[in-house]
Symmetry: C2
Subunit: 333 residues, 2 copies
């Protein structure tokens, strides 16, 4: 885990490796967005996304039961399809199970996968199961569909567009801090732990925003606003101003930070909301006069304008103490 | 690595885990064949296959250069599409690179992936690259297409059908034994090492056999005839008789065994051909009067009849010393 000012090591590595692969032919969108898109007969696009999760890199089994691991691994791929405005349809799941794991724990992972598959209406059509000589590793590929004219990508944000997020931020990160703290978590902070273990991909919101016709760019918040907004801006060739005071920090995040402060830790609620990641909310942009259209499209789910897209390449955070570059947040490298 | 008489541990685990997942809805073929099949608009089927490979389970970096690892990982997924009679089109690649690997070695893996992608005309459209805290792990998903009426599966073999394999058997296993031996490999045995490092999926043969209209069941030989014929017979609800004397043991396998015998090892060429695996030849069945049609369809590639399908469930090997159950061969569990 490192913090880097300009570009994460993971993004740089992916870019370098992508350059070594062949140029796609019948492909609309390849490496670099939440999912790839392939033209199907009849005007639809096939969406494909894949993620690999490894114990000790992305999760620890001390903090998560097997069923939550299965749920979350599939949920983050489903979220990638939601981020394109698509509908997930099928999944294939490769699983390396540590040799020491009992059958019951292995089955628990599959139970969590099945629960998420049912929630997302995804058919698990295949997979590969091996005995791991290393850590528990899950690699999931999810397929989805979207009408050609409705697909949303990270590119397309224009200067002047408003920047929105769905829901609230920081819950999953607060949940992780509570688990790391090790002490029994008070009942009223359970929502944070639940958000860390069982994230809810924004499928209906993603579809509604794609159909609204006013969204210019969209992605999901897997690594935190501080990292993901940089990615959206880079893909769109724009900059951004984020207003610290507008961030929809979840109330449970503030309560969790208060409780953790009593335990001697000092996480900051706004830091968790900005850099914590794993909220799997949607980050999207739209012209400033489209807010009413957005609210009608999305229904009950709250959306919050957190800033605006600017010309140039700078991504900055505005707070009561002034303006500063938004630090590129948490990455896995 | 174990040998089991009735069913491999891997197959049993996959069956148990598959039972925990949801019943597919718009899916033609799910867990249990070389690939899953999903109906597309316009009468075509989308094929999906996934495989996970882990250092220390499926390969050792002492014996294979990074480019060969990349090539082989993609080739075995491409072979699964060939086994359905399909054409591969796209791939997504998840890669966990050990923290200690230099950029050059990482790039080598991608170079091998690209070379295989070019040979198979596959677009690599996405992926996920992480730093591994354990062994090198590759998880690849390949998509392909096949006309609905042309898809071949493991089910469909009928009593009386002849059993065929393409090409020759045992080369990849002989190559592995040579590498394990550790001494410099004589030049005239290089084809065995090449077969172990750079397997050639039988794409053209798979398509030709699917179009021939006479093949009743097909799969690829990834784990060796002794294991894979059991799987085909189970899927078809039939038995089989294999004639030991008819197995197309590659001449280089016999030469490699002779050389290894001088070095004190005693592998048997027929054993390697039966149980060694990784040949990625096609195993298929057809009525006994269809051989001329098959030979015309497949062109220059040799095919060999190695036995016949029987009623019942027994899979037996006939040799000069009599008849014995064909042992369920090498598995990863």
């Amino acid at each position: 885990v490192t913090r880097q000012p300009a570009q994460s090591g993971e993004d740089a590595l992916i870019a370098a490796l992508a350059a070594r692969l062949s140029v796609p032919r019948h492909t609309r969108l390849a490496i670099g967005d939440d999912a790839a898109a392939i033209a199907l007969p009849g005007g639809e696009l096939l969406l494909v996304t894949t993620d690999m999760l490894m114990e000790g890199v992305h999760f620890r089994t001390e903090w998560a039961d097997p069923a939550s691991l299965g749920w979350k691994a599939l949920a983050q791929n489903v979220s990638d399809i939601a981020a394109m405005g698509g509908t997930p349809t099928h999944a294939v799941i490769a699983l390396a199970l540590p040799a020491g794991w009992a059958a019951e724990r292995c089955a628990g992972v599959y139970d969590g996968l099945r629960e998420m598959a049912e929630v997302a209406h995804v058919d698990v059509v295949g997979g590969d199961t091996i005995r791991s000589v290393g850590p528990l590793t899950l690699s999931i590929t999810v397929l989805g569909r979207v009408a050609e004219g409705e697909m949303l990508t990270r590119a397309g944000a224009r200067p002047g567009d408003a920047i929105y997020v769905t829901g609230t931020l920081g819950r999953a990160a607060a949940g992780l801090r509570l688990l790391q703290n090790g002490r029994p978590v008070p009942l009223d902070l359970g929502a944070a732990v639940e958000a860390q273990h069982r994230p809810q991909p924004r499928l209906a919101a993603g579809r509604a925003l794609a159909r609204s016709g006013v969204v210019s760019a969209m992605m999901d918040l897997s690594d935190g606003l501080a990292t993901d907004l940089h990615r959206l801006c880079r893909a769109s060739g724009v900059g951004a101003v984020v207003e610290r005071g507008r961030l929809p920090v979840d109330p449970v995040v503030i309560a969790a930070c208060d409780w953790l402060a009593m335990a001697g830790a000092t996480p900051d609620p706004v830091d968790l909301a900005l850099t914590g990641g794993e909220d799997f909310e949607l980050l999207f942009t739209a012209p400033p006069d489209a807010e009413e259209t957005l609210r009608v499209a999305i229904g009950d789910l709250p959306i919050t304008c957190v800033g605006r897209i600017t010309a140039g390449a700078d991504v900055v955070l505005v707070g009561i103490t002034g303006v500063a570059p938004l630090p590129w947040g948490f990455t896995h490298f």
